[in-house]
Amino acid sequence: MTIERKVVVSNVLGLHARASARLVNLANQFESRISLKRSDNDTSADAKSILSVMFLAATPGTELLLQANGTDEESALAALVLLFENHFDESSHVF
């Protein structure tokens, strides 16, 4: 069964190359198939492929649906949601 959660790209630069790299590195630590789907135009990306994530062109404010399917889907989704909520650990929103 696929589970899903909505997130918003909230870091200042959006899913640029380094943020994408963090996302893909994290996704690759899980067995589950993980995808990101844009709420606005239905394009989707494989979270384990950096090119796929980069071509999603998710600018700040983009709403994404995270979907995971597999043995560790729960923890995969939780970890990825956390990455989004922590703004990819970028600090630029303060000040």
Binding site: V12, L13, A17, A21, V94
Partner: protein, 598 residues
Amino acid sequence: MSSSPQTNAELHFTGSGVSSGVAIGTAARLSTHARQPLFINVLPHRVPIEIKRLHRALHSARHHLESVKVRLKNEAGTTPAYFLDPYILMLNDQYLTQTIEDNIRQHRVNAEWAVKLSLESMLAACDRIDDSYLRERSADIRDVAYRLISILSGQRSEPPTFETPSILFAEDILPTVLAEMNTNNILAIATDVGGWATHTAIIARSLGIPAVFGLQDCASRVQAGMSCIVDGTNGVVILNPRKTTQTTYLGRRVTEQRNRRDGLRLAQLPAVTLDGVQCALSANVEIQSELPMIQRYGAEGIGLFRSEFLLAGDGNEFPDEQTQIEAYRNVLAAVPGSSATIRVFDFNQDVLICGERENPEANPALGLHGVRLWLKHEPIARTQLRAILRAGTQGDLRILLPRVTCVSEVRAARTLLESVRAELRAERIPHALNPQLGVMIEIPSAVFVCGHLAREADFLSIGSNDLIQYLLAVDRTNEQVGHLYHPLHPAVLASLRHIVEAAERTNTPVRMCGEMAANPLCAFALLGLGLRNFSLSPAALPQLKLLIRSVTIEAAQAFFREAMTLPTGQAIEEFARSILGGDFLLGMSGNAFLKVVE
């Protein structure tokens, strides 16, 4: 060498100085164009062989970049090393591999030609996406593709090296190429394209190599062995410099090296102007690992501890009371005998624990954030206040409220503080009795009520970055309007003067806790409008101190009076530059700050 008498004429080019410093030396050229790959139509039985070649090349490129990453980490630190991650991941990317393999099979071509075809289709896909920030990505993809093509065609196994100290000229330098080079013999870098924010610029800065990018047509006019000067501080490149020019720059180089060396020594000297006015410098701190650097850079206290960074560590759980007490005690312990100011959690709604966020905001900058959100979540606020009061038994720990817009917010916070204090008293837990409570002035409405705020609060802290963004309606990270972010805009200076006047009238301490003071031109204006208290990231403090120690308040005040008659930020910037003078500014490190706007 050449019959043209023009060959030896001194030539000047200007670009953008992306990494500060002056270098004088001889030119070397770096050819950065990947040679056009060979096109070969392969027979069907050769297809699997080409696919195997592709996989070997991917593996070798990946392996190589992994080792570059390790070396870069040792030489330049963790942050620049992480820039290599996207490239390494791309070389591991199923989608990329699949696309190239498909091209080999479909068109029956050799691996290098298939890489070229794949690159072209991916760059076309990038172009179709209507977003300027994708330009950076197409450069990343091109970098990876060129790398694969060179490996496949056996063009390059070793990164370019230079036998003698050289100034490197190129049309462009890919970030991975700079990262893999042995930079011992690279005195400076000059390229025709690129800018401040590119990965290559970031690597140059972290390796401390002076660099000027965006020189347009400079590289093609350079011949290897030509004598040249790169001034990364001012974004200038000079070919065939005359003797007099060389002498000038030799002098500047000496001054600059001395100033840089003096930076840390300076940290131990007092922050006093030439006419004897004492200033106070403290540090902005985000993470606890920064604490040990603070005294080395000469900070007298901690002007701003951004407590929301305690959240970033283990997840989105808010740290419990005990964890916070320990963190705040560590902060105090880093500045024995001085004060430390904890800014209470400044977050947006999206940081809040999952599920609590129901309606995503269309416009978070104008939404529920800062003290509004903090007051709304009383349990979180109470826990934080308890921790600050309890840690405050060990020193002068102060509380700072972010994004205040109205006096009622200060009153609500004070009521909460009283109630928490009563609670601790009832529980007989030791706590600070009378901690100072301050407000951030970073939203325009706060500027205009800051007389009232100053009467209710114990101190004022100016958050320049947000104040400028809100005043000018400019998001500095938005490429389309970022150039309009101008700290010396007359509206900004007038607002700051208004705040300082209100503070003087009410006898309330005021401090600037923003990066504006890191810019020498701005710092001069800030002294002129009456600020004496500054809090900055630790590494930027020596530079501010150098400025303070090099000017008189009288001159700064005269400058400010005159500046306020000028109509634009640009005009004020030019005026400041004309007073402080190029040689003085050249000595200041971190040229990013020399240009008020990029």
